[in-house]
Symmetry: C2
Subunit: 293 residues, 2 copies
């Protein structure tokens, strides 16, 4: 099964490296930033394609790992150079971007009209897990398409869950990231206030870890917040986007979600302040006194 | 060492039961709600006292487990019937209520003037842990006072930490509860939105547990939110009080803490709606569609 990638930022590139390492036939890669595709292609012995459509033509299975809803919708068209230009008969597209559930549904319809199949594969993990093949993958879409590509997907994941029809995985992902981002914002407030009160933050994190304040983000982001180490695993800009998706799902459902709203505002504030490329842990820059004007 | 308790609601009563069971000499108990003191006294063979001052007179070590700052300040006076009426020479008061750091400092000064010593013992655990002697205790105050009562305290705790001068434990406790309460509010939003989107909440909780959305409150409160089981371990009214303490510490430190503010508003809204006696997990009543008008 010939495999292609559209979107080879750090996530996509690491997924491609991992599949290559596992003996899969990764044949073609493309990226809106052409040098990224060229460098990866040289590294793993694939072809760097100028356009998404070239990747589709060369592949039976195409992973798309693009940045947002607009990027997803722009590549899934029949326009020159785009994924569906030459039809999609017999092909499966596995879409890994975090986008709105409605976008996955729209893509599924377009791919279906072009004779192919699409799946969601939402990732609740980050760059190191992509490289190691230990992603937590939530998949959705037609069951037979999932069965076809499952052997390949298994090489990327330490845990994989088929959650149902197209759109369902994106909902779950949106909720995972919503809760994760709120918990991250909460931790930044707790540590920021602890610092302002003169507490030893290492002690405070230890107490948090042993009490009702414990969380996964305490493990992944707590020390980084204390030490201002915000090299990017999951950018604040992504957190802002995900927070917006979740908040808008809530508005669409007629729910008032004040924590989701406040968290969205914090991450959007980071982007407005030019801090969007920090890791999401960089939200501590907003809550520690004197860290950011 | 003769031990007394002032405030024998569920926490205080369970601490007294535990100490009795461990062979300690629990001699006197009092409560603003006299029948609670009488019932406990009959159960454990102690004397039910009409006033806090009677407990102090009969004891070398007095645990106070009252509900809030006002209650703490009202019992630590020399007024008739109150704790310091007959002086406090040689006595140690161990104060377990969650109150503002400044209240612990004020109490320490009053007790010192009366010839005694006081300690903070902030509990980051709840009713079942009190009964089992597995509290997580954060203690602060004069080191020699701590050393005197430590053998008794050890019977109540599976983990105990001396964090420094009076007021410091209350700061840590305020931060623990602040982060815990925000994470709880976040979880209620995630599950409430999941329900509105038609997701299987058992599946969603499983995914949360395996991803960045995982937290201690997911373990303790997630299933209860799904099943609307809000029997009280830690009441929403307490969460409202703790959220206010933390938020006001933040305001006092000149920090803007939007998540703490939003969480305080949610718990205060529960109290306003008459839901204050539900467990804190009852915040899901606000975020699930149709659960509460």
């Amino acid at each position: 099964m010939r495999i292609g990638f559209v979107g080879v930022g750090r996530m996509g590139a690491n997924m491609a490296r991992r599949l290559k390492e596992c003996g899969c036939e990764v044949v073609a890669v493309a990226d809106a930033h052409a040098p990224a595709a060229q460098a990866l292609a040289a590294e793993i012995g694939a072809r760097a394609c100028p356009q998404p459509g070239d990747v589709a033509a060369a592949s039976d299975l195409v992973f798309t790992v693009v940045s947002d809803d607009a990027a997803m919708l722009s590549i899934f068209t029949t326009a020159p150079g785009q994924l569906l230009e030459r039809g999609a008969a017999g092909k499966v597209f596995v879409n890994c971007a975090t986008v709105a559930p409605a976008t996955h549904l729209e893509v599924e319809q377009r791919v279906g009209r072009a004779g192919g199949q699409s799946l969601e594969a939402c990732m609740a993990s980050s760059i190191p897990q992509a490289r190691a093949g230990t992603l937590y993958l939530m998949c959705a879409g037609a069951r037979d398409a999932f069965t076809r590509v499952e052997p390949v997907m298994q090489k990327l994941a330490s845990a994989m869950r088929y959650v149902g029809a197209t759109g369902e995985a994106a909902k779950v992902k949106a909720l995972v990231n919503m809760v994760m981002n709120i918990n991250t914002a909460a931790l930044a407030e707790g540590l920021g206030l602890g610092a302002a009160l003169g507490l030893d933050l290492t002690m405070l994190r230890e107490v948090f870890a042993q009490t009702g304040a414990a969380s996964q983000v305490l493990k992944t982001d707590g020390e980084d917040m204390q030490n201002r180490e915000h090299g990017c695993f999951f950018s604040a800009a992504h957190a802002a986007k995900d927070s917006r998706i979740a908040h808008e799902l809530g508005l669409g459902a007629g729910l008032d979600l004040p924590l989701a709203r406040a968290t969205r505002a914090q991450y959007e504030r980071m982007v407005a302040l030019g801090l969007g490329e920090l890791d999401k842990s960089g939200i501590a820059e907003l809550t520690f006194k004197g860290r950011h004007a």
